[in-house]
Amino acid sequence: MDFWFSYIALASIYVLLGLSTNLLVGIAGIFSVSQAAVFGVGAYIVAFFLMNDTMSFLPALAIAALCCVGLNILVTLPALRVSGDYFVVTSFGIQLLATAVFTNWTDGTGGANGLPGIPPPDLAGKALESSGEVVTLCVAGMGLGCLIFWLVMRAPFGRLLRAIREDELAVAAAGKSVLRAKVSAAALAGAFAGTAGGLYATFLSFIDPSSFDLDSSILLLTMVVVGGARTLAGSILGPFLLLALPQILTLVDIPTTVAAAARQLIYGVLLIAFMLFRPQGLAGEKL
């Protein structure tokens, strides 16, 4: 039972990340390898507030989400104003810089050893101790995220983003700001990623830099690519499938020294294969 709880909670958290990555990469068309960095920022912020007993879970989560919104705006606005390729460099830079900060700022983030002992979340004064309660919280978070994504995509904003994916020039010719729409999408993506980070920190009660590095960003991309770009279904399917992968791999006899590289290798192969043969993923629209 504990295994299933763990799987569902993690999958729910990664669905939020999937929605975030889908908004940024799938819908706004911005190639980003820094989603894990934003995820990490959210996690470390919530961990900080909870461990120092400064405030309860929901306010901490809100602050983390807001910080990540700001971070994404700060990162995308100047770069996108120049070009998409500029943002690729920015994204790599942000991810590598974030990993450096997470690993070396020992005072703030616990350094390479991470932060153990993060308290469980508390709602309205009551701490959620049992795993069942925490899983419910994560699933609720996922549900809320899906609702927000659905609302946003069926609003004029969703239509504007779809139009931008088709023809930016025509959108600009109609008098709309393409830059503002893309940065708004990035901001919303930041909120999702930050929230996922907060849930992750409190669910695992231990975080370290290795969950938020470039390899993790690649995993997030793979989830969206496999599940399917630009759709709600794809954002849910991808994480559930790819989180099952390590379990499936344990059935195959791979020495542990090679296990991590094997996983990442599979993600790389999936990325190439889907781009070549099925760019719309399993349940998505064409990238």
Binding site: P78, L97, I218, L271
Partner: protein
């Protein structure tokens, strides 16, 4: 004194990164593809050389073998992946993701085969130390790095302006549509460019690990610095990319006098942000 040593080290690494920047710039300016898998080719060439040396081959053979492997890999990536995607009119985003996937595949195959630990070359003549002016120590490897990479830069300049293929590449780079009409066959030129760029990046791909050791995931940071150098120098300018790579590495090195080494990526990124905000087209952008 330390500053002078850092200065010289900066030139050494800068020259190596300069060729990474020049080779990346060749691909980007011609094919418009942001070829992140280039970091994988860079990393792989070091490992191939190391393996060949391990198996008893003399250094020159190992060197040539690595170049052959890198060239083949680069050409394959272009022919089997990028060309196919281009034929399907894949979006820029799709190609980027495919390139990233290729990088992940290359890096992790290397990690699986060679483990993620640092591997060192064992070349006794490489560690011979020379003293410059009594205060600066330079190993044979470092001196070779400067000489060979600068020579490579010269070679690329001569090739680009002096040879027919070089001129064709520049023509395709500036106007692929027109090149198609003039029967320059951009597809074939793209393969040549990828092959040449991969062969080029082999040089720093071997020389840098000679100094610092081999690690499967160590290609991304040099690539990032190289792309920043390319942008700061102005896309399309070979000299710009090479010179800016040296400048950025120098600034990074000199910053070690003030801040710990783990934060050097911050210095590089800071330089990038400055350019992005104030001079996004770089210093010597090629006239269109």
């Amino acid at each position: 004194m330390l500053a002078l040593q850092l200065l010289c080290n900066g030139i050494v690494t800068g020259c190596a990164l300069g060729i990474v920047a020049v080779s990346f710039s060749l691909v980007y300016a011609t094919t418009k593809i942001f070829h992140v898998a280039h970091a994988g080719v860079y990393t792989m060439s070091g490992y191939v050389a190391w393996s060949l040396l391990r198996h008893g081959f003399p250094a020159p053979i190992a060197f040539v073998g690595a170049i052959a492997a890198a060239t083949a890999l680069g050409a394959l990536i272009q022919a089997l992946l990028y060309a196919r995607l281009e034929k399907r009119r894949a979006t820029h985003l799709v190609v980027l993701i495919a390139s990233l996937g290729t990088l992940a595949v290359i890096q992790n195959i290397l990690a699986a085969v060679y483990t993620a630990n640092i591997l060192r070359f064992e070349l006794p003549w490489g560690t011979r130390v020379f003293l410059l002016g009594g205060n600066v120590r330079l190993t044979m490897t470092q001196i070779l790095t400067v000489l060979l990479n600068v020579a490579a830069y010269g070679g690329v300049m001569w090739f680009s302006h002096g040879t027919i293929l070089g001129k064709q590449i520049r023509a395709v780079a500036s106007n692929p549509f027109l090149a198609e009409i003039v029967r320059l066959q951009p597809r074939r030129v793209h393969i040549y460019v990828m092959a040449i760029a991969s062969a080029l990046v082999c040089l720093p791909g071997i020389l840098v690990p000679l100094d610092f050791g081999l690690q499967p995931y160590n290609g991304v940071t040099p690539l990032l610095t190289a792309t920043i150098a390319m942008i700061a120098g102005g896309v399309g300018s070979i000299t710009g990319a090479f010179v800016l790579a040296i400048v950025i590495t120098e600034l990074q090195n000199m910053s070690l006098l003030f801040i710990p080494g783990e934060w050097s990526i911050g210095v590089t990124f800071f330089i990038f942000v400055i350019f992005m905000l104030f001079r996004p087209t770089g210093l010597f952008a090629a006239a269109r």
